[in-house]
Symmetry: C2
Subunit: 386 residues, 2 copies
């Protein structure tokens, strides 16, 4: 199998992008990624498009061939992939596998979601499509409700405090201030967070990521060909996708996600490294609590110590293992289908040394993207050339 590298990245602004269609957003991100790759677009023979809910939110499907037609990629095999909030990272993994096997040399992976024009009723119902709607989904087990269970249990089991959980939001909102594409660029204080309105006790407003419009894109290339196009191909040295429960009742322990643990184990094994070798992380902080649980499940801290780690600043930009220097989903925003490639966009900027919140000497980065209740999890490990 061949090595595969990322040679181009693109992203729109994340936020409320009224008056722009999902097609326009995807084209903007893809054009930027292709220009960044400096590769002739007619050589792109494969396109995966990650999207969760465009049919519901915009009435537009066939997004993959729609984008290919707009870009003039006449010979590309085009597929939309869906795995809830992990959709575009699944697309990245499939493109990685197909290039690795030699079926393609160059592939484009895009992700997009247009969510903010839906009413909150429609948005809440639509997003519940990532639960089992015939069982828990129909009983009101929304995602804030699920994460409320996780948070309460983590606090009970490990003594994690309300303030420690809130500090995830303090950190990520502070990080977002300097990220020019972030939805929220205003810092919040611990006091503002813990006094914000309740959503699903103990989850408060600032514990939740926002509803977001946005698109992202990544160009992948066989590493053996990448130097034709770029001086800094970012190699994918670890890639894994795993399956988790689709219902809360199927968890034996609500404080850990076996699909994240397993995806991390597979990706580390493939890369031949461990958590201590990672310099920078973008992980799936759809809720503040998610960042703490994920940081443990990815092996950065022992189970139950993630809350204290945030409090001690270990996950800050200057900390031992910087997590979500982009601002994460909490601050940068969460256009569901676009998020996976959006994390890749951030890590590639880190490994190129051009990130607005640059981690010094970042050489190896990790992305963790999760759909549903950890129902689909991907972990990717990227490395810059020496």
């Amino acid at each position: 199998m061949r090595s595969v590298s990322i040679i181009g990245i693109g992203s729109t602004q994340f936020g409320k992008l009224t008056g722009r269609t999902i097609k326009e957003l995807a084209v903007e991100a893809a054009v930027e990624a292709i220009a960044d790759a400096r590769a002739p677009r007619e050589k792109i023979s494969c396109l995966f498009f990650g999207n969760f809910l465009s049919g519901v939110f915009t009435g537009q499907e066939v997004l993959a061939p729609l984008l290919a037609n707009e870009l003039g990629l006449r010979s590309a095999e085009c597929t939309k992939v869906e795995g809830a909030c992990a959709s575009s990272a699944i697309g990245l993994r499939l493109a990685y596998l197909l290039i690795s096997a030699g079926f393609h040399d160059l592939a484009l992976v895009a992700g997009a979601e247009k969510m903010t024009e839906a009413t909150s009723d429609i948005a809440t119902t639509a997003i519940s499509a990532a639960t089992d709607i015939t069982t828990e989904g129909a009983c009101g087990m929304t995602f804030p409700a699920f994460w409320a269970l996780v948070m309460r249990r983590h606090m009970y089991e490990y003594g994690t405090t309300r303030e420690q959980v809130a500090m995830v939001s303090v950190k990520n909102r502070a990080n977002g201030v300097t990220n020019e594409i972030a939805q929220f660029r205003k810092a919040v204080t611990l006091e503002e967070i813990v006094s914000s309105r309740p959503v699903s006790d103990p989850i408060l407003k600032f514990d939740c990521c926002p509803v977001t419009d946005g698109a992202t894109a990544v160009v992948l290339c066989a590493t053996e060909l990448a130097r034709q196009f770029t001086d800094c191909p970012i190699e994918i040295i670890g890639s894994a996708q795993t399956l988790g429960p689709v219902r809360a009742c199927d968890f034996t322990d609500l404080t850990t996600f076996p699909s994240t643990v397993e995806a991390a184990r597979k990706a580390y094994t493939m890369a031949g490294i461990g958590p201590s070798d990672i310099d920078v992380v973008e992980l799936h902080d759809c809720f503040t609590m998610a960042e703490i649980v994920d940081s443990e499940d990815l092996g950065f801290f022992p189970k139950g110590k993630g809350g204290a780690a945030v409090e001690q600043g270990l996950t800050s930009i200057a900390g031992r293992i910087p997590i979500n220097p982009s601002g994460g989903l909490l601050s940068k925003g969460h256009p569901t289908g676009a998020t996976g490639c959006g994390q890749i966009y951030e890590i590639v900027r880190q490994l190129r040394g051009i990130h607005p919140n640059q981690i010094k000497n970042a050489r190896i980065g990790l992305t963790h993207n999760a759909g549903g209740t950890g129902t689909v999890v991907t972990v990717h490990i990227l490395q810059r050339p020496d």
Copy 2:
């Protein structure tokens, strides 16, 4: 690259399946396919789920991991794929590629759609998601309208007659009578067809496939391992996926689909055969006219001769090249996301020699599945062991 074979098939009844969820339908088809494969289900490490509009019609997404959880496939990588009406054939192709490259030994591909509970307004709007909704889709270019343009042009260019086009429906409805899973099992006469109510002139009611509920599933296996499980592995000897226009205005000639021509060319080349080597065909007759155009584009007849071929009985069960002996989309039904694997189901039954409309000595079969206006096209060629 390794050879890949189909070792298990499953399908629900096609039709109006009121009171059953899309999850239940998918489970039924998948359980049947896995039982048919006689392979231990824990060895299935990959699952693709083809679906077009479940988010809109049922509010349920994450269908791939949902199905895997129901089946207890704990280690499977699960992805929903979408390419409008070609969704599950795209899943088949991806599973084929990944097994071929050695990433998996056994994969499950499922397809499902639950459409009949939507009102006709919702259904029409939803299906328009396969057009470019910001241009032609918004101007009323529905699929009946598009096929009306194609039909009128084919009649003008080649002298194809109204009666020849109707004979596709006569044939396919007759074929459906003996297919126990078909939605329509009642023959119709030429007179009934040409006097049925107008939909989009010159398209009449019996020129259109119905709205359908249904699910299908296929188990794929590396051929080198297939004999452990079955005496009759059906080998995939040709596989191709191509891109076509997403708007009628992008066609230079409305009587031919370059994406079908190109997919056929690629699949024949890969198989090392030509159209005359094909014993039986299931192709995408979403409208009567589509069967005629596709039968030409797949190389079975010269351009413009498809209408006469139907009239002469060349595409009948006893004809030179039997097309849609299952009844096709027109009679069997068209649960969009399920159709691609449904065609595979029919061809595998033919190549096993167990089809209710068995083609004598069928050794090589072809499936053609199209999404949108030929926006995504797949062609697969299957061969039984000697």
